[in-house]
Symmetry: C3
Subunit: 184 residues, 3 copies
């Protein structure tokens, strides 16, 4: 009997292990389009909060170690350079408007994200526009707009920007209107 | 032989049950990040449609029974109080502008949602801005902006707001600019 | 012993097959709410990029073969008619403003998407607003706003618009303010 038990254990172990694998699978592989899409627009949201609340660490954290930020002023290469770029406040429009009412804010709103995923890389296209209240009365005004073209990479299970290019319809040379649809 | 069959049945029953569990699992638990994210931004969208189309029942329905709405005027506590608050039209900017052209509208646009899920609770951070056309010619103007900080709870499989705090960059004391990034 | 092995094989085959089925299941059926939601807002984003970058083929590609576009000027019926409608540039606000600075842009921003899925059909409700820079200095201005009411159909695994109705708070007869919440 003991031999049969041992034998049975071995024979039934295979389906049992398959079963456990199947239970574990949704967590292990999963990553459907819905998951990837959600993680990518969550990442885009985190970029915006870090940008507008002047959080240089949070701003750098959404890029890969070798990530590139391509904006109207040129290219900023590598996470550490991006962190420094943000900390230096080069394009913080509200920083010189603190002497009235309450602190001024610049806010970026992002919409219409299109995402194409290919394994552990992805491309995304997203609109942005900007609002400010940097006058003494803190009245809001809506300003520039444009779009992002992003390359993303999944690193240790986390989507990050390997390259973010910012196009701006209010800046000559960074506008993309009158050109082909960038979405592929 | 019968004894062996019985024995075999018992031994193989375990992996078989595991298998059935695994098949049932995607429907039963599922709720990947993508599912949670989608349900939460769908809920946020429903809040906005109910708000702008003055649907007090729909507005209350997105909160838990003990949900709290924290806005510039104070805290409104409990689903029924929130329903009444909305029905009373306290912050309906278009209600006094019906005497021209066609009915006026106030619209809230929400973007950049960041979501962190922990089991059956979640946190979300979202930008909002507002547009109105409450002049006689129904010309649109863009007004206030700010962000939401939400606590959510999954009740009977449905995500609901247990607390929604509305911050407003156009209202002293409700602005959050110049402070730390609220996203954790 | 051989007979037992054969017997065991058969008995354990059932759970083993169930296991394989369970492993295959997530990939085979998948299409959770999160997946559907992501595919639908991705589609909505593609519509906008095609619209604003004057890509008539891309604009038509998001509709079913028998799709209907219902806008302020009436109904456009069928993918080919929609392609022609877009190619004709009926509502391209930037087309007559190319004679200064750099090409003008019209951009549509969409937010707050609510989605209800029923098998291979879905309904969606989404806000839109529009920005332009069609003055000589390319200064941005924010203009019209409204919402979409969409019917969608899954064709060969891909979500497409079977009907998109565009409501516009700046156009008498296409405004929906003062009416019931359209979201069901």
């Amino acid at each position: 009997m003991q031999m049969f038990r041992t034998f049975l254990f071995r024979v039934t172990l295979i389906p049992a292990l398959f079963s456990l694998l199947a239970i574990a699978a949704p967590a292990a592989q999963a990553e459907s389009y819905g998951d990837d899409y959600a993680h990518i627009i969550d990442l885009q949201g985190r970029y915006i909060f870090a940008q507008d609340f002047n959080d240089a660490d949070g701003y750098a954290a959404v890029f890969t170690e070798d990530g590139v930020l391509d904006w109207a002023g040129g290219e900023v290469k590598g996470r550490e350079a991006i962190r420094k770029f943000k900390a230096d406040g080069v394009y913080n429009l509200s920083k010189n408007a603190e002497n009235a009412a309450w602190p001024a804010s610049t806010r970026h709103f992002i919409t219409n994200t299109v995402v194409t995923v290919t394994g552990d890389t992805a491309k995304a296209w997203t609109y942005w526009f900007q609002a400010n209240n940097n006058t003494a009365d803190r009245k809001s005004s809506y300003g520039l707009y444009g779009h992002y073209e992003d390359d993303l990479r999944r690193v240790n299970g986390q989507w990050l920007f390997s390259r973010r290019a910012i196009y701006n319809e209010g800046v000559k040379g960074r506008a993309k209107s009158g050109t082909k649809n960038p979405v592929k």
